[in-house]
């Protein structure tokens, strides 16, 4: 019997359906389907969990600007673009501030000694604290979400860039010194490319943390935006509305990571022989071991 089973196995693997299911994409698809089935089952047994189709129908109506709940057309894009603007401005400033701070920290032992404990405090501070504080400082408006994003993203970028600066091989520094390579060329061709990997890790952390931060800040400190809209449905106890917006948050991060950050990272690392294999395994949450250890996981 065992011989027959052994002989059958390769034949089973040649089956195109089985092969598709065992592929990376098949495994991903299976996880989505399993999630939807579990959600549907939960919705059948728990009153307060809306069904998947109801939720997706809500998302579609919200996006296509239907008459849902008396909402006027274009409501989704108005809120989404408001959030996207705050997110982009905050992240850009946080990224620049974090990069400059990171290069300074990585290059100077004195600055590291001076600021590393402060930076640890900032890293440990949850985004919700910044959301509360900035709302108390600036009141309801665009300032609270933008400052929350800057304050949440910058420390993560700074820590990663500082680690990148310190990781530059001393041998390459010595080589540059022996050849008398000018300082600006060293910065452009040695330091920045060496830091790129850490910069991307910082940017990906920054994006995820900033997106959470902007939503939290809008929840408490804005009168429009995605976070405010989610709160509207939450306050009205409309579960599918709240859950629908949660799915929109997640979908945005998925798209941003898959369509922008991963291709950029792949391009920046095309010099690495194993780059293709590294990036292949990455999607949302597909951080490598080094990135996960930076997150403390």
């Amino acid at each position: 019997m065992s011989t027959a089973a052994t002989l059958d196995r390769p034949r089973l693997r040649r089956n195109p359906v089985v092969r598709a299911l065992l592929s990376t994409w098949g495994a991903r698809l299976t996880s989505y389907v399993a999630f939807l089935v579990a959600w549907q089952l939960l919705a059948w047994y728990v009153d307060r969990v809306p069904e998947p189709w109801e939720t997706f129908d809500f998302i579609w109506r919200e996006i296509s600007g239907g008459s849902h709940g008396g909402v006027r057309p274009g409501e989704f894009w108005e809120h989404f673009s408001a959030t996207l603007g705050r997110f982009s401005i905050g992240l850009s400033i946080g990224f620049v501030v974090g990069t400059v701070l990171g290069i300074a920290l990585g290059s100077s032992m004195f600055l590291r000694a001076l600021l590393s404990d402060m930076l640890l405090v900032l890293l440990a501070l949850p985004a919700i604290i910044w959301a509360f504080l900035t709302t108390m400082w600036f009141g309801l408006g665009w300032e609270a979400p933008v400052y929350t994003v800057i304050l949440s993203a910058a420390p993560f970028v700074a820590v990663n860039v500082a680690q990148g600066v310190r990781s530059v091989s001393p041998d390459l520094h010595r080589m540059s010194e022996a050849y008398g390579v000018p300082r600006n060329r060293r910065m452009r061709s040695l330091l920045l490319p060496a830091v790129t990997g850490y910069l991307f890790t910082g940017l990906r952390f920054g994006v995820i943390i900033s997106w959470n931060a902007v939503l939290l800040a809008e929840w408490f400190g804005a009168v429009d935006g995605v976070g405010w809209r989610a709160r509207l449905w939450y306050d009205a106890a409309r579960y599918r509305g709240f859950l629908g917006w949660a799915i929109i948050f997640i979908a945005f991060i998925f798209l941003l990571d898959g369509l922008v950050l991963s291709p950029l990272q792949r391009r920046a690392f095309r010099w690495r022989k194993s780059a293709a294999a590294d990036v292949e395994t990455e999607g949302l949450g597909g951080f490598d071991a080094e990135e996960l250890s930076t997150m403390g996981l």
């Binding site: 041998d171 390459l172 010595r174 080589m175 540059s176 010194e177 022996a178 050849y179 008398g180 390579v181 060329r185 061709s189 040695l190 490319p193 060496a194 790129t196 095309r270 010099w271 690495r272 022989k273």
Partner: protein, 253 residues
Amino acid sequence: MATLQITNLTKSFPAHSKGGQPTRAIQGISFEMSGQVFVSLVGPSGCGKSTLLNIVSGVDTPSSGTVAVTQDSQKAKLGYVFQDPRLLPWRTVMQNMLYVTDLSEEEGRVNARRYLEMVGLDHAEDMFPGQLSGGMQQRVGIARAFSVDPDLLLMDEPFSHLDAITARSLREELQSMWNATKKTVLFVTHDVMEAVQLSDRIITLAHGGTVFDDVAVDLPFPRKASDPDFATHQAEILARFETMEAERAEKAG
């Protein structure tokens, strides 16, 4: 014509622990080399060969003594080939060549191609170092050093990390490049055979960082290890070194 003048050079490294003795890597070395010569610095591991090269290149500073590298009374331009290739992994071969050049981009490319051709890598200019074998990477390192048109070329055991066959072929390439350019070369190695094959002059350092021997190698190029004169030179240098080591062991008790 480049001149390297080393006078009474000493280098000590601080003690590892409190109350310990500082380590003396070099003790009062003096020698001079000038013109179109290929000089090898031979000696056992830890005798201060690489430290000396680092001081000559300006990467390290001496504890006492002086090092002067001059080119017609001006400060000379240096080229450096390291034990490992030390290429920027995120830059292509051509970009690595351009990284160290003083020339404009266009001139630099023409110049780099000339030297890459000499080491047989003109087809690899758009490749990244990670796509090349260790031997090919070291060839790029050599081409890079020659491409800056150095007045003095420093080479720190450039073939020690390569397999014997690749090292042999690179030695032959280096020899033909040197014949074509006649640069002033200071070449560090622990391999006496390599030194005899490539050099006009061999300076042997002893343990403790002192000059033990300084001999001219008067053999025609290209040199073959199978040539009896080659073997005689090699044997003489080794015999003198072994005698010195035996005396040192006797003194040490």
